[in-house]
């Protein structure tokens, strides 16, 4: 007989109320809080204490709820963010987090808020260092942390920002910020109905393996609570998906052979209770490990196994741009530099793993999931399910970070197939390991670059060859292959240019879209060699760039000529003061220090907004209700970057309304038109233009009603629009107007597609309607003996054409720099080795130094109110600026990222450092 206490029932105090639960042994407190007590504000990012999103207070101490047994809460006081909002610290933080836009996607925000409350209770007026120490256990992938630090410091000091609201140009709070800060935002894992079944995927543990299932019937029969198993045989339509029509190649479930570690081969559907204890290793499958290729070199070797029939030599595709005669120009150049550069896989590492659920409603399937591309999801699902588009509804949840990877489908086919087969709602959330193993990555690159210049400092020939490890399936690999040659020159005048890229298949996770689509990799090579070239010429690195920077009226390497809006010179000029003081500062420091050396580095970047030479439309709809409410159907997915706010600000300005008066309807394929995917820095530009046109159109309808002047002022009131112009006040009564099927008395729906032209065989044409431009400066400190590189401050100049919301611009810049910093110094995804957030190292709140953002506004002719895209630009110059700063500090050129301490130290030794 057991005479010890075996606890079944656990009581504790949650946010001031007594609660009781009966957890399983070994059940995490985070699970109990979310699934048994409905506290969905507790977010789960890793289940390993690596991300801190699940932070709660237990007896006032901040802990990770994922690392605490639910049983250990017995008798304790547990507080989540929802229980802290009414306290003095909570109230101050709610206001301050919004004022500073300290929340972008919002998924880490509950953990940040909880940690900040604990700090403010102990230290009412913390400084930045204390905030960093207190919040160091919570990872954020969007913000770059500086706004969070500012917000907590300001909450302590009682400094309040003036509340502002308005249209274009106003640095207002996010319209969706309050819900994020209060933990009410519903992400992919937060929306499933109670009692939903759970689907878990069986994945290949090998990079390449044949497989044979055991007796699935017996397996199911032996597991009460398991409803069914799904395999390729259960896919009613095409067992294939992808994002580029000509390259669609990825099966939902592999058939006979898995091509990368983590590839799905089957799925098991059952009750939540049974699936929580289900061990995928118990699934009846026999693996036959096959020889695999992990690198481009292996994949290109003679006799290498072919991943896909019809793609000889494992070559998926290539890209090519040729202008002038690069070789001749290099021959006549006075100085030539060349080098090889390498980068590894980079993981998106959003804090929200892929999640969602599906249900069947009146014969239609509804998929609720985090996504960057709802209509593309619908397209894929129609093919996979062999259902008409009308029978599928995609309802995106809030997205806890995407950065490109959530453009591809993940959980959608699994939950949809399971819901259709069982007839019940089915949910799924990727584990962190599953997310890292199976979703797309940034392409590893191997680049060979030669650049020449004449004695006067002018570029004379550039030749670029880049191989990109595109992994097992195509995903966005073709886009990367196309974009790189178009961008690899950087924003400079390069009359003689040759660039070719190749995307090579390997038995690795698919490489896909990641902020910059290959351009960050090519920028590392090009901007690093620019410093080498300037050195050889005896020129100042900034002066050299200014001399060669592209100007209005000069052709890009594709021969595209912009008459206006080329802002790179303005960006570089804006860095001039920081460049001069930076150089002086580091020289003074280095004169006095031996073991530490500082350097300052700069780099430029450019990025064409929207699809490359392809149609890329967005549609925005708005309606006026009889009660005077203006409804904006805003389908541009907000993945934290701020389109919910930006699109509304643009629309409000075009209409002539206060943005706070708008009623926002989010993305939902049943009620909101297609605003395209959130990628390629296109939403502000493309969807913004559609919103502007919709606003203009609705405004015109109203003015027409009363024959008012174009500059009339509108006031939306209950049942009436008051229109004031020189002639007086007109009242447009709405109640009596006929309503359309959606109940609107007036409705505008406008589409915008940016004007582009195809590229010819030499990559000549007009691939983009606009480019955005950027230049970063960084000061770093290198610990010579330990190889540690510490960025001390950034100055970032960005030409955004017109800053629709300057605060959102700063947020993008800071977040992009943090990701670029990670790519430069710490982040490398190694399949099978760094499949978690403690071996894969994204920057923490202590790693991102102060960032000064210089907003440049070289208006663009096509952009809404002159605005340009920004999302990718913010990451592109960061890594090369850091490498250039290391070189400035030490004379050592790092050609492989991440420049880990071990690699930096090895390079320093090779260069003769003690």
């Amino acid at each position: 007989m057991d005479n010890f206490r075996a606890i079944a029932d656990v009581g504790f105090v949650l946010n001031g109320s007594a609660v009781r639960v009966a957890p399983e042994r070994g059940e995490r407190l985070s699970y109990a809080l979310r699934e048994r007590l409905g506290a969905r504000e507790v977010k789960i990012g890793c289940n390993a204490g690596d991300c801190g999103a699940c932070s709660v207070l237990v007896e006032g101490d901040v802990v990770c709820a994922c690392l605490m047994a639910a049983h250990q809460a017995a008798g304790k006081r547990v507080e989540t963010v929802r229980g802290l909002l009414d306290g003095a610290q909570g109230r101050a933080l709610v206001a301050s987090f919004q004022d500073h836009q300290a929340a972008q996607c919002g998924v880490c925000t509950p953990g940040m808020m909880v940690s900040a409350v604990a700090l403010l209770r102990d230290v009412p007026q913390p400084d930045a260092g204390q905030v960093q120490d207190a919040l160091g256990g919570v990872l954020c992938r969007c913000t770059g942390y500086r706004k969070i630090i500012d917000a907590v410091v300001a909450a302590g000091s009682g400094a309040a920002a003036p509340a502002v609201s308005g249209g274009v140009g106003v640095a207002m709070r996010r319209l969706d910020g309050l819900a994020k800060v209060e933990g009410r935002e519903a992400f992919g894992d937060d929306v499933a109905p109670e009692g939903a079944l759970v689907v878990k995927v069986i994945r290949s543990p090998h990079p390449r393996a044949g497989f044979v299932f055991g007796d699935l019937e017996t397996f199911i029969a032996g597991l009460p609570g398991v409803d069914c198993v799904l395999t390729a045989a259960d896919v009613p339509g095409r067992n294939v998906f992808g994002v580029i029509p000509a390259f669609v190649d990825q099966p939902v479930f592999a058939e006979a052979e898995a091509r990368f570690r983590g590839e799905a081969i089957a799925a098991v559907v059952g009750s939540a209770e049974v699936m929580a204890a289900f061990d995928p290793a118990s699934f009846p499958v026999t693996w036959q490990v096959l020889p695999s290729v992990q690198t481009v070199a292996e994949a290109l070797a003679e006799g290498a196994p072919l991943l896909h029939a019809g793609r000889a030599g494992n070559l998926m595709c290539g890209g090519f741009v040729k202008r002038g005669d690069a070789d001749a120009a290099l021959k006549r150049a006075d100085v030539v530099v060349e080098a090889r550069f390498e980068s590894g896989f980079v993981e998106h590492a959003y804090i929200e793993p892929e999640a969602g659920f599906a249900q069947v409603v009146d014969g239609r399937v509804e998929i609720y999931a985090c996504t960057q591309a709802p209509v593309m999801d619908l397209d894929s699902m129609a093919e996979i399910l062999a259902m008409p588009r009308e029978a599928i509804r995609i309802v995106p949840t809030a997205v806890g970070g995407g950065f490109g990877s959530k453009l591809d489908i993940s959980v959608q086919p699994f939950v949809a197939l399971a819901a259709l087969k069982t007839g019940k709602p089915v949910r799924m959330t990727y584990s962190r390991a599953e997310s890292m193993q199976s979703t797309t990555k940034r392409h590893p690159s191997a680049i060979h670059l030669r650049i020449g210049a004449t004695q006067d400092g002018r570029l004379s020939g550039m030749r670029f060859e880049g191989d990109f490890n595109t992994g097992a399936y195509a995903s966005w690999g073709p886009t990367v292959a196309n974009r790189v040659p178009v961008h690899a020159s950087g924003p400079y005048l390069v009359p003689d240019y040759l660039a070719q890229s190749r995307a090579i298949h390997t038995h690795c996770p698919s490489s896909g879209a990641f902020r910059g689509f290959g351009v960050p990799q090519s920028a590392i090579a090009q901007e690093s060699l620019f410093d080498a070239l300037a050195d050889k010429l005896g020129m100042d690195a900034l002066e050299f760039r200014l001399l060669n920077a592209l100007d209005n009226g000069e052709p890009t390497v594709c021969g595209q000529v912009f008459a206006q809006g080329v802002g790179i010179k303005a960006c570089l000029q804006a860095l001039q003061p920081a460049w001069e003081t930076g150089k002086a500062e580091v020289a003074a420091f280095n004169a006095k220090n031996k073991g530490l050396r500082r350097g300052v580095g700069i780099a430029s970047g450019w990025y064409g907004c929207g699809n490359t030479s392809l149609p890329n439309p967005s549609t925005i709809k708005a309606g006026l209700r009889p009660d005077g409410g203006v409804v904006l159907h805003q389908g541009a997915m907000d993945i934290g970057q701020g389109s919910n706010t930006v699109i509304a600000q643009i629309f409000a300005t075009a209409l002539g309304a206060d943005v706070r008066d708008l009623l926002l309807v989010g993305s939902d394929t049943d009620v909101t038109p297609d605003a395209g995917k959130t990628s390629a820095s296109r939403q502000t530009f493309v969807s913004g233009n559609a919103a502007r046109l919709a606003g203009i159109s609705l405004r015109a309808m109203i003015l027409e009603r009363c024959n008012a002047a174009v500059d009339a002022v509108l006031r939306f009131d209950v049942g009436v629009v008051e229109v004031t112009d020189g002639a007086g006040v007109h009242r447009v009564e709405l109640a009596d107007l006929p309503q359309d099927a959606e109940g609107y008395v007036m409705r505008a729906e406008e589409r915008y597609d940016p004007p582009t032209l195809p590229l010819d065989a030499n990559g000549q044409g007009s691939p983009y309607a606009q480019f955005g431009y950027a230049a970063h400066l960084v000061v770093v400190e290198v610990d010579l003996k330990l190889g540690l590189v510490k960025p001390l401050r950034f100055v970032a100049a960005h030409d955004v054409g017109r800053a629709i919301n300057p605060l959102l611009v700063e947020g993008q810049v800071q977040g992009g720099i943090a990701q670029g910093l990670g790519m430069a110094l710490t982040e490398e995804y190694l399949p099978g080795r760094t499949e978690n957030l403690h071996d894969y190292l994204i920057p923490t709140i202590g790693d991102v130094p102060p960032i000064e953002t210089l907003i440049i506004e070289e208006a663009d002719a096509h952009g809404p109110y002159g605005a340009k895209g920004l999302g990718e630009h913010v990451l592109i110059p960061t890594a090369p600026a850091i490498l250039n700063a290391i070189r400035h500090a030490t004379g050592v050129a790092m050609t492989r990222v991440p420049a880990t301490p071990s690699r930096v130290r090895a390079a320093l030794k090779e260069a003769g450092y003690e």
């Binding site: 010890f4 606890i7 042994r25 801190g52 101490d61 160091g136 330990l786 403690h838 190292l841 790693d847």
Partner: protein, 281 residues
Amino acid sequence: MAYLCPDNMADAFAALERGCVSVIAGGTDWFPQAGEVLPKVSLLDVTGLPGFRGISRVPGGWRLGAVTRWSDVVGADLPAAFDGLKAAAREVGSLQIQNAGTLAGNLCNASPAADGMPPLLCLGAEVELVSRRGLRWLALAEFVTGVRRTARAADELVSAVFVPDLAAGTVAGFRKLGARRYLVISIAMVAASLRVEAGRIVDARVAVGACSPVARRLSVLEARLEGLSVGAVLPVDVASLAGLAPIADVRGSGEYRLEAVVEMVSRLLGDLVAQGVRANG
């Protein structure tokens, strides 16, 4: 299978004897290792056992209860010889981990990169084990026997860590090398303690973690340091690191680790000597 949370030793021993139990304390290592699937064993939660938590003065030294948390260590009023342990405590993961993770858990997990090991080795810590057979004490270096291996018998629990008194004037420190500021699993870490008496280094102790299967003291270096004049060049070189065998992994090459240790030890000792001079002349 059950979740067992005894409040007395007899129940705890009974649970151990029943077998098929996994001991859990702060959970900060237990849950990541459990992964996503509920365990097929009973859990024995030792956080409620009498005398298992808290730091107390005992004859001849200090007793740190097994489930004393890292944040308890940070907040405790302890002699300067514990400064290395305190510094290590502040570098453990994050506040979240420090508020849950326990001293004994860190030792029993027996990771080569356990943050508590180097400073506790310098403190000459002993591990107190309790079972129905009574109490026994093992030197820390004898307790952790390999990667994920300890000398704890199946019927035993670690009840405390005992730290014998160090002479007044002992100064101590800890340094951890990682590629980012917080949430770091170290590339290498070093702890050291020493006294300065009459211008000479006395009782120098140096330990290194993450560079061998089990963190270890550097006996060659310690012998070189003994009696050395505070003005002398510190004799830290790769040869003085005998016993370390760092592996190459994603965090760094073996060669890099050894060199980094030389540098970190030199810097730490330099700081401690200066501190010791101020403390003791």
